[in-house]
């Protein structure tokens, strides 16, 4: 196990200092512009895949969401660590995560000094009225990218997957208290039983 972990470090294309610097900068940018929690980083991660296709694929991102939802820890941090690990091993994971949290730390430490004024500021309230609506659309866009991989093979609809989706979504809406990891485990079992992908 230990051996495999270390072999990951050197085996990937991105092990030089430049890669770490770019990785840090990319995740710093995500930390700065992703507002509204972990899921808000998702459209930025798809963007990252467009800009650096050799780093991470849309398929990897879908796996990343599943792993991040089913393991402990804030989902945004889990996704950043997973992405960074994919790019250049353990150090990549650490680099991406540190990049992501740096803007938060700086901004919060500044705001902590002027908390009360910030909280009730009318400009903050006005900005957020619009920002929230844009962010929800960005997350929906990220969802469409996952649909493309999960439910379609090129232009062809994957029938078994589409049926599973149509069964799962109403169940999730009906039983909101059930933890995501349960749905993920059920879907994995269905995948093996019905021999997906179709």
């Amino acid at each position: 196990m230990g051996h495999c972990l270390f072999s990951l470090d050197g085996a990937k294309k991105g092990e030089d200092e430049m890669t770490f610097l770019i990785l840090y900068a990319e995740f710093f940018k995500i930390g700065l512009f992703a507002i509204g929690g972990g899921m808000a980083t998702l459209p930025f991660l798809f963007r990252l895949s467009d800009v650096h296709p050799d780093w991470i694929s849309y398929g990897d991102i879908s796996t990343m969401v599943a792993v991040s939802e089913s393991t402990p820890g804030p989902i945004g941090i889990n996704m950043a660590t997973y992405c960074g690990t994919k790019v250049s091993g353990i150090l990549g994971g650490v680099t991406a995560t540190l990049g992501l949290v740096t803007p938060s730390i700086i901004i919060i430490l500044i705001i902590a000094h002027v908390l009360d004024r910030f909280k009730d500021n009318v400009w903050v309230r006005r900005s957020f009225y619009g920002l929230r609506a844009a962010v929800i659309a960005l997350i929906a866009y990220a969802g469409v990218q996952v649909y493309k991989i999960a439910l379609f093979n090129g232009n062809r609809l994957r029938v078994k997957e589409a049926i599973l989706f149509c069964v799962l979504l109403p169940l999730m809406l009906r039983f909101k208290k059930v933890h995501p990891v349960i749905w993920i485990v059920i879907a994995a079992a269905v995948g093996i039983l019905f021999s997906l992908p179709s």
Partner: protein, 189 residues
């Protein structure tokens, strides 16, 4: 502001690492853990303080869990406390995800893993849809926000632009339409 005593930096790190391990999903899922560990057990801040930090954490850049941790760390041990609390909350993720990613790298081509993940992707699609439905109820509240959401989604699908653009467009849109609504209300009064 009544605090029992200043925790050591190590205690701060451990407490937030513990919260990191116990939280699945982050965001709202973390609130009950914070209430129990930080407010009730450690008494590092009051319930109201926590909700304030949480609210500000939601409307500042970055992960809500990290923002809240930085706030509480700062409250107890100043700037360094903020950094240590954040490192604490991300530490379990780093360990767990790094191990899992390596395991997946090795077994990724196993036929059972491939089948399982084909199913898992469907669950992920549905989970993201669920998040969007939940959040949309709070974010898309009237005609201007509805138009902005539809426009953002459409432009992203057509041109695959950088999301950063829409952060700025969203802020500008929010300010313009808030001011318009406020002016209209002012006139009818």
């Amino acid at each position: 502001m009544a605090q029992t005593e200043k925790p050591s930096l190590f205690e701060l790190f451990l407490t937030f690492a513990k919260i990191g391990v116990m939280t699945f999903g982050g965001g709202y899922a973390m609130l009950p853990m914070l209430q129990r560990e930080i407010v009730e057990k450690k008494k590092w801040c009051s319930e109201d303080d926590l909700l304030d930090y949480f609210a500000v954490g939601q409307c500042t850049p970055g992960i809500i869990a990290v923002n809240t941790a930085t706030f509480i760390g700062y409250r107890t041990r100043g700037n360094l406390g903020g950094v240590i609390a954040t490192l604490g909350i991300v530490f379990p993720s780093l360990v767990i995800i790094t191990c899992l990613a390596s395991v997946l790298e090795i077994y990724g081509d196993n036929p059972y893993v491939v089948k399982a993940f084909a199913g898992v992707r469907v669950a992920v699609s549905a989970l993201i849809t669920l998040s969007v439905i939940k959040l949309a109820k709070k974010s898309v509240v009237d005609v201007p926000t509805g138009i902005l959401s539809a426009l953002t989604l459409l432009l992203m699908l057509l041109f695959n632009l950088s999301p950063v653009i829409f952060v700025f467009v969203g802020i500008a849109w929010g300010i313009v339409f808030s001011l318009l609504t406020e002016r209209r209300r002012g006139k009818t009064k």
